[in-house]
Symmetry: C2
């Protein structure tokens, strides 16, 4: 594709996206496609001769869009919205155009330095404690997802508690324990399986029935029990904003226990962490000054398209110790000077995309002010939604709802709540998902898509209310 | 950013990339930036108020570009070129615009089905054996990088040899062994460390001094030695196109040994695998019909911008067994029907970007014909370069060079070769990197960037030749 063809087709693609975003509201949120329907519309074999780009755009309309569940729809309230925005899309476009692979500082200094810098900016915007800034022993990096962050936090913790011995000898059997609550994201158990500890290494600590957050007394008992019998407390995962209900673990208490026992404290604030752009929500980060690592996802609630999971460590050394290998073909003067960061040593992959561009673009376009407005808008809409639920005798709230997630249910029971969910989702007019709270089904209204306004939340509530009848 | 602003700024971004690609040849390939130079040009704090998008584009020119090592420069011959192309960039743009997160089939059926389908297409284009098609027990998935693929191959292998026991109990100590050659990519040792086996689990098998590929007799001895003493041969990694010299391991021999001992055979064809789009290069895949998994990177040599590492398994079950967890909030009817693929169970992350779009776009724009032309062009240029090296008394080839990588050196020794590399790289007129072959330094001329023509290779040779004087 020549540069001139790229200009022509690039405009078509930009217009296609603008049209899509203008019209997405008229589409069913949840794709009604049956399994196999998309594949059935595609040619069995790849083309022998090339085709013009407009043919692809036509198939985007005819074949792809009917199979899309529209995450950018203003009535997408499922999981956690993964919100994109114009500046994010265009920042990412610039990264694709440059096509640099920033595995080492030397393979594009700007890719590394902009990432370090923008992660410092984001730490400032979230008022994260000093230990996570790159000016000291710490610093930030963009991971693909919070699952990757949980995994590398575990690896850094293993490296630290073993004095690096696991790098050669492996993790052995039953020597290391990991602590999370029953509400912690499944990525922690997945990380333990990937890291060779197995799921049995995870101690699932019970929660406080009121706050739904980890009970620190039970955590202490579990840690002390392990320590007494020679199992090393390795990683404690505290969650700020659990996936099910948005609960916030008592990070300060977890941190004290971690410090007493030398365990790594990782804070998973994947969804909720970005709320701290607004000072009134910074209470969520109480105690984070005791954490060894912290993760939050701008690709969920901070207007930056997937993937962009921001991860900070207080001390880079154990992370790099766990992940660094320097074969001959990667040796270079900058690396050997020790003056630069080589991000390949901060995660599983070697190669890496220039993802800092989209985060830089988002922060510059919106400014701190615009980011605060976005988060505040989501929280305000959720609070309004919760007030309607509370005022309706047939419904009840299932958990506290300080931020932009409201869990609720029909008082008449699980079957009724599930039937309600199925009806509204099948309507195509909204999409929400479920969880289980205290053994009972609850529906999750997760607000935060880029284009969601009061009218969409109101329409969702009216549909729920009318369908419950 | 409103849709109309998006149209306006989107055109600017498209034009910025077109201008960049038109002018990249005039820039120094390797960034001359000193450590800290890019950061020094950035404001210490994030902006309070938003800024227009053109301000970002100005800073792209003034701050970012001087810190870029230009991977899309036609004279980039370092590492392996990671080539992008117009249709890839635009396919990726569409993915950013849709902003779907395809962790489950249900969260966007088209994202999953198009990926499965396009991976079948690519298997057809590469003439990969039947076991990797989705029509049977196998199928393909896009991973971030070949490092991720090596890791999940190891996890699937562990799952299979342990009958799933490692999922709960972990990997224990010294029970599982992994085999690779001394030339295998460092990602295999990294995978063993991540997976809790430790680097000691890796048996680095020596190579044949002529072909530089793994010696299967030594592999057999190592496997049998482990088996005799109760260590389970778990994973054998065969490489098609080693990073250092492009050597091709004897996959068929490796496969026979793997089958005899129940080990998982993973083939890492990260760089070279895509060459099989042209029938005359399909010999590289001899023996792949015995492999359990296979990986190649369209983001290296097949015109698809980073990241796009295509990974196939012959049997999905052990992979999914190793990585699946189903918490309540991800349960859905489609998953429970068993009729669909949920790609979250095929890799480390949970969330996933719609990366199949860019590969689909590339295959459709170029067609099989265009992809063959691209690979053939790279190989022909490399062969020509090698002939010049051979004809110059001061130089010698350091390894065989069947594809598009030529390793060579000055006969006068390592210091001279290193000095030559430093001189040509510092000139900004080309960029190449080095390796060690048989204990001696060798320079790597890796051809395959999208815009590289004969004149660029000729100019590189002239610069090398003149600088060697």
């Amino acid at each position: 594709m020549s540069p001139d063809e790229f200009r022509e087709y690039g405009r078509m693609a930009v217009d296609w996206i603008a049209d899509y975003l203008e019209q997405v509201e008229s589409r069913p949120v949840l794709s009604p496609a049956e399994p196999g329907a998309v594949r059935a519309a595609l040619p069995a074999d790849p083309p022998e001769r090339g085709e013009p780009f407009d043919a692809l755009l036509r198939d985007m309309d005819d074949i792809v869009l009917p199979g899309i569940t529209h995450w950018q729809h203003p009535s997408f309230f499922a999981y956690f919205p993964a919100n994109a925005s114009g500046p994010a899309i265009l920042g990412d476009l610039l990264a694709s155009g440059l096509g640099v692979q920033g595995m080492l500082w030397a393979t594009s200094p700007a890719a590394t330095e902009l990432e370090t810098h923008v992660l410092d900016w984001l730490a400032t915007l979230l008022d994260l404690p000093e230990q996570f800034r790159s000016s000291g022993t710490g610093g930030g990096v963009i991971q693909h997802t919070a699952s990757d962050s949980a995994l590398v936090a575990l690896l850094a913790g293993l490296h630290r508690v073993s004095g690096g011995a696991t790098e050669r000898a492996g993790v052995g059997s039953g020597s290391y324990a990991v602590y999370a609550s029953t509400q912690t994201h499944s990525s922690v158990e997945k990380a333990c399986r990937i890291a060779g500890l197995g799921a049995d290494a995870v101690r699932k600590i019970d929660i406080d029935p009121t706050t739904l957050s980890m009970n620190p007394t039970l955590l202490r008992e579990a840690v002390e029990h392990d320590a007494r019998r020679g199992v090393t407390p390795t990683l404690i995962v505290g969650t700020i904003g659990t996936t099910g209900t948005g609960a916030v673990d008592p990070i300060h208490d977890l941190g004290e226990i971690a410090h007493e026992h030398g365990a790594w404290l990782h804070v998973d604030a994947a969804w909720a962490g970005v709320a701290a752009v607004a000072p009134e929500f910074r209470w969520i980060n109480d105690g984070v000054e005791l954490a060894d690592s912290y993760d939050t996802n701008p690709h969920k609630w901070l207007l930056t398209n997937f993937d962009c999971s921001t991860f900070w460590v207080a001390d880079r050394a154990p992370l790099i110790g766990a992940l660094s290998i320097l074969p001959e073909y990667l040796r270079n003067a900058a690396t050997e000077s020790g003056d630069v960061i080589d991000y390949r040593d901060w995660h599983v992959p070697l190669g890496r995309r220039f993802r800092a561009l989209k985060l830089w673009s988002v922060i510059r376009w919106y400014g701190a002010e615009g980011l605060r407005d976005h988060v505040r808008n989501g929280v305000a809409l959720a609070q309004e939604f919760a007030s309607w639920v509370e005022a309706d005798d047939r419904f009840e709230l299932a958990a506290p709802h300080e931020l932009a997630l409201v869990t609720f249910r029909l008082k008449s029971g699980d079957d009724a709540s599930r039937a309600l969910m199925d009806v509204v989702n099948t309507s195509g007019r909204m999409y929400l998902t479920h969880t289980v709270v205290d053994g009972r089904l609850a529906l999750r209204m997760a607000i935060g898509a880029t284009s969601t306004e009061l009218r969409h939340v109101r329409a969702a509530w009216e549909l729920l209310r009318d369908s419950a009848t």
